[in-house]
């Protein structure tokens, strides 16, 4: 099957030039890498960790379009990966990150942090509420803007079940100008784009976007 992954060096994304390995990765034999990752439990998750519209409120609701993001975390055979840790972070609706190094001249929202976490359920399903993130400019080239996106860090139970990615929104006009999005082979880019779902939309409350995530490799039998 054709790879769905970006190369390490993608010169249009300038920071890859001095930050990507130049030597081929070394292949590790299965029995040497047969290692597990720690298990997280409900005790690690706080009440509003899966609701970014609520987990940083100070004096009101965050500004912006409330959305629900949901999906299934699975292995290459489509089997759900239960109890995996998903950490998320994003800009606010104005396209501003709370990060101290961020200098984009857009307002912070006192009621929005943009960070959350959750565990997938016993079917590998997950869901969280947030505010739809705005686009933001960056310094890669003249007039560079990132499409709206939510960052995901996923940790399953095996060392190969680790993924850092970004979820995009359908039909974003910035896709064709964004080298981070474009670094992925064309046939696979749609795998990073969530799908709008009218069925899962909460009437009079929040639009829903579906983002299914497929991790590298197959689930080992002890997690079946």
């Amino acid at each position: 099957m054709e790879s769905t992954q970006a190369p390490f060096l993608y010169p249009e994304y300038k920071s890859t030039i001095f930050r990507s390995p130049t030597q081929p990765l070394m292949i590790v034999k299965d029995h040497l890498k047969d290692l597990t990752l720690p298990v997280f439990g409900e005790s690690h998750i706080q009440k509003f960790d899966n609701d970014l519209t609520k987990n940083a409120q100070i004096n009101g609701e965050p500004i912006g379009e409330r959305i629900k993001v949901f999906g299934k975390l699975m292995d290459e055979n489509g089997r759900g990966i239960p109890n995996a840790l998903i950490e998320i972070w994003q800009a606010n609706s104005a396209g501003r990150y709370i990060h101290k190094a961020e200098i984009h001249d857009a307002p912070l929202d006192p009621n929005f942090l943009g960070a959350g976490r959750l565990l997938t359920d016993n079917q590998g399903l997950y869901q969280f509420y947030t505010i739809k993130p705005g686009a933001y400019p960056w310094g890669n080239h003249f007039n560079a803007w990132r499409p709206n996106h939510i960052h995901f860090s996923i940790m399953g139970h095996q060392i190969e079940h680790r993924l850092i990615t970004q979820m995009y929104f359908p039909g974003d006009p910035l896709f064709e100008y964004d080298p981070i999005y474009q670094s992925v082979p064309q046939h696979a880019r749609h795998l990073m784009v969530s799908k709008f779902s009218i069925d899962k939309t909460d009437p009079e409350f929040a639009l829903a976007y579906e983002f299914n995530i497929v991790l590298n490799g197959k689930l080992k039998s002890n997690f079946e």
Binding site: A6, S20, I88, A101, R162
Partner: protein, 186 residues
């Protein structure tokens, strides 16, 4: 059986800290993964793993994030793991520092700690391992180390330093260049 296409990896970007390492960077959010691989129930002398990450121009990378995974074997040979995580953006010189105990050998391998590295400018997270310079005999017999060309093996070996009665193992990561760190395909 139907096969599903793997979701593409994307960079962690520069703005991860208030989520992944909130406590270390002083954001108002809790952290469930810290800079320590040990808790009070784990006995043994504390050691520190420290180092820097260098880019292809030999500049220290101040916005990377590193995770260590260490394995602990119980008396009945169950292996459990612990994870720690540090960003390189809070120390003046861009170094990272972790607290742990020296790992014991598991599954017949020389003592090691697994490393994952993520940063702006890297479209993928990278895997490597830390081995320990003072485990000469076990390192010599280790299957993984032996499968690496000899001139690159040193990129995985942390050197032991003693400062103010504390034990440090120094592990520098080089993204490119003559001493480029060995990264694994997992």
């Amino acid at each position: 059986m139907e096969t599903f296409n793997q979701t593409p990896s994307q960079t962690v970007g520069p703005f991860f800290a208030y989520s992944l390492t909130a406590k270390q960077y002083g954001y108002n959010y809790n952290s469930i993964i810290t800079d320590s691989l040990v808790n009070d129930s784990i006995e043994g002398e504390r050691i520190f793993i420290t180092g820097k990450i260098f880019d292809g121009e030999n500049k220290v990378i101040p916005d990377a994030i590193i995770e260590l995974v260490q394995y602990f074997e119980s008396e009945n040979q169950d292996v459990t793991s612990k994870i720690a995580r540090v960003g390189t953006g809070t120390s003046e010189d861009g170094s990272f520092i972790f607290t742990t105990v020296k790992p014991k050998p598991i599954k017949g391998q020389a003592p090691f700690i697994s490393v994952v590295i993520m940063m702006r400018g890297s479209l993928h997270h990278l895997h490597t391992r830390i081995y320990f310079a003072d485990e000469t005999e076990k390192n010599k017999e280790d299957l993984l180390l032996n499968s690496i060309p000899e001139d690159r093996r040193n990129s995985l070996i942390a050197n032991r330093l003693q400062k103010n009665n504390q034990i440090f193992y120094e592990f520098n990561i080089r993204m490119q260049g003559e001493n480029e760190t060995i990264f694994f395909k997992i």
